[in-house]
């Protein structure tokens, strides 16, 4: 097969692309090199060859065939830096392909080593046919800090929220008055628990169906801490219905702590913090079952929900429970709004635990995001004005490039 290739190639050696430059991209993890070149006229495609041993090869096909109009490429020199840390220097050559240059075809069933060998031979054949340009060096550069504009402004934003939060918390500790406007949906949580107590029925808490990876789930766990405390004080039963096993374990810890803090550590029944099923609709069916057979008086849905939102809320409605929902999942909000008594929208979900805790320090931390919010609104107006006048400075300030 290689011999055949030689024949085809020697007859058809196209002029290689010129002006190859190899540069490490800015703020890089140290595994990428950016290539740029001038297209060769009449080429049918470009192949990028790489060597880690020296300017004479052996060569590996690192990208391509790229369309002839493409004049840039980016190469990732190592896919697993733990086992293959990047070398100091890499060499690159570009190959112009003719319309009938054979593609590299791997043999089905060959071992990986044999594959690499065949590929190297293919690259070597192309180089020998004179289709390759000169070798150019490239040095990957790993950056220890990303100083691009977007990253810096995001960092300052986080620092601003954190700094303001600590500052307001400190002021609250020193006794500065804190104000928080009434949020009816959150007040309804306590009313709901009260109603359940009066009726002698349990409270059902559903922390969404997403993994602990989602910050809405984490927020929901924090809220559960406050809810369980209140429930314990009222001496009511609390059923937590979990879709993700890890979330159940955290919820178990949270509710146990809530009962402990309320002074009723023995009233906690771990059987009431339940793992139902990690499959979305099996979980929905199981939670429906709890609603219909254990008849909770109040259903609280806080966290990240998907399509099950309406099934849960409609079943709860049939059961005549008070229903309070909260999510930042925009697609599900309409259903909660239509079927629940109270719905917390987006940001309100993240305010619940601070609000319920009545801890002036936590409450005052809400002020921090309020300040940043006003800052963002100002940015929106100034940015629109600036964009209209032809300056994209603010747009760039909020644009994060790369990763």
């Amino acid at each position: 097969m290689i011999a055949l290739l030689f024949l085809a190639l020697s007859a058809q050696a196209a002029t290689p692309p010129t002006g190859l430059t190899v540069q490490a991209p800015p703020h890089d993890d140290g595994l990428d090199l950016d290539l740029a070149w001038t297209a060769a006229p009449g080429s049918a495609g470009t192949l990028v060859l790489r060597s880690e041993t020296g300017p004479d090869g052996p060569w590996l096909v690192s990208a391509g065939p790229l369309p002839p109009s493409t004049t840039t490429s980016s190469d990732r020199v190592s896919s697993d830096p733990r086992t293959h840390p990047p070398a100091e220097v890499y060499w690159y050559r570009l190959v112009s392909l003719d319309a009938d240059t054979p593609d590299f075809q791997a043999e089905v069933g060959a071992t990986e080593a044999a594959q690499a060998q065949a590929q190297a031979a293919y690259a070597q054949a192309l180089v020998q046919a004179g289709a390759a340009g000169p070798a150019v060096e490239g040095h990957p550069a790993a950056s220890w800090f990303n100083t691009s504009l977007g990253h810096l402004s995001l960092l300052s934003l986080i620092l601003a929220v954190g700094g303001l939060m600590l500052w307001f918390t400190d002021r609250a500790r020193k006794g500065a008055p804190t104000f928080i406007r009434r949020i009816p949906g959150i007040d309804a949580i306590e009313e709901g628990i009260g109603r359940a107590t009066e009726m002698g029925k349990p409270v059902l808490y559903v922390p969404g169906i997403d993994e602990l990876q989602d910050i809405q789930t984490i927020a929901s766990m924090l809220i559960l801490g406050q809810v369980s405390k209140t429930v314990a004080e009222y001496q009511t039963e609390l059923i937590v219905s979990c879709c993700i096993p890890m979330v159940r374990e955290v919820a178990d810890e949270v509710v146990r702590a809530g009962f402990y803090q309320a002074g009723y550590p023995d009233a906690y029944n771990p059987r009431n913090t339940r793992f139902i099923s990690s499959e979305q609709f099996a979980f929905t069916a199981g939670t429906n079952g709890i609603m219909l057979r254990e008849k909770p008086a109040t259903n609280i849905y806080l966290g990240r929900f998907f399509a099950e939102s309406l099934i849960l809320a409609e079943t709860g409605y049939v059961n005549r429970s008070i229903q309070i929902a909260g999510t930042a999942e925009a697609t599900q909000l309409p259903f909660f709004v239509a079927a629940c008594d109270y719905t917390l929208i987006g940001e309100e979900l993240f305010a619940v635990s601070a609000y319920l805790s009545r801890d002036p320090r936590l409450v005052s931390s809400l002020k921090a995001s309020d300040y940043v919010k006003v800052f963002i609104v100002v940015c929106l107006f100034v940015g629109t004005l600036a964009a209209t006048l032809g300056s994209d400075l603010l747009v760039r300030l909020f644009t994060i490039s790369g990763g």
Partner: protein, 212 residues
């Protein structure tokens, strides 16, 4: 110790993971990737605990013949049967001819899809019940809903006014007010997420770390 160690871990790990975004160096990201993989492993391990919880909740009901014990038995048996089928099938479990594959195709899939399909009925009953023009907000909600529904009826596209103007109004609602509202929700939620994340990492909120 019971509180301090978890709090220190929270602070260190949390700050380290925030760093992932700002420190691109591959030597750093090797570790952040490793940490996330540990998170995946722990999530998988929690499954075993979930199973313990499930048995703990349901087995006593079966043994004591409490209400609905028969159903709980069905649940536990089907769980065990599926597990056995899965592990007997091994890596080939999802190929045709294996019991696991059969259970998946003919039990799991229809149950799952039908549970989801209940929504077609619920969306009708929720719309009928909730969409009454009691005040301006509700009126706007239901007008937008009806408008979009009419514009989305495939048959309406060939009608003169409905097929021409309504889809444009719908697109405008989707493009402008809907985008504005969604972005506000996203931005607000992201702010809330930043604040919540910081409260957790700085140890201001720690209800997940127990009380004693």
């Amino acid at each position: 110790m019971k509180r301090t160690i978890p709090l220190i871990i929270t602070l260190l790990v949390g700050l380290f993971m925030i760093g992932e975004f700002f420190i691109p160096h591959y030597r750093y990201r090797i570790w952040t990737a490793e940490f996330l993989e540990w998170g995946l492993i722990l999530a998988a391990a929690a499954f075993v605990l979930g199973l313990v919880n499930l048995v703990q909740v349901n087995l006593p009901k079966v043994l004591r013949r409490e209400e609905d014990w028969g159903y709980k038995l069905v649940m536990l048996l089907s769980l065990v049967l599926t597990l056995i089928a899965g592990f007997l099938g091994g890596d080939a479990r999802s190929e045709a001819g294996h019991l696991y594959h059969w259970i998946y195709d003919f039990v799991f899939v229809p149950l799952n899809a039908t549970m989801f399909a209940l929504l077609a009925f619920y969306i009708a009953s929720a719309a009928f019940r909730a969409f009454r023009a009691r005040n301006l907000e509700a009126a706007l909600l239901l007008t937008a809903a009806i408008l979009v529904m009419v514009a989305r009826v495939p048959a309406g596209e060939n009608l003169p006014v409905i097929g021409d103007i309504l889809p444009r109004i719908m697109n405008w609602i989707m493009d402008v007010p809907n985008t504005a509202a969604r972005r506000a929700i996203f931005i607000g939620a992201a702010l809330g997420a930043v604040a919540t994340g910081l409260r957790v990492i700085l140890g201001l909120e720690r209800s997940h770390l127990g009380a004693d």
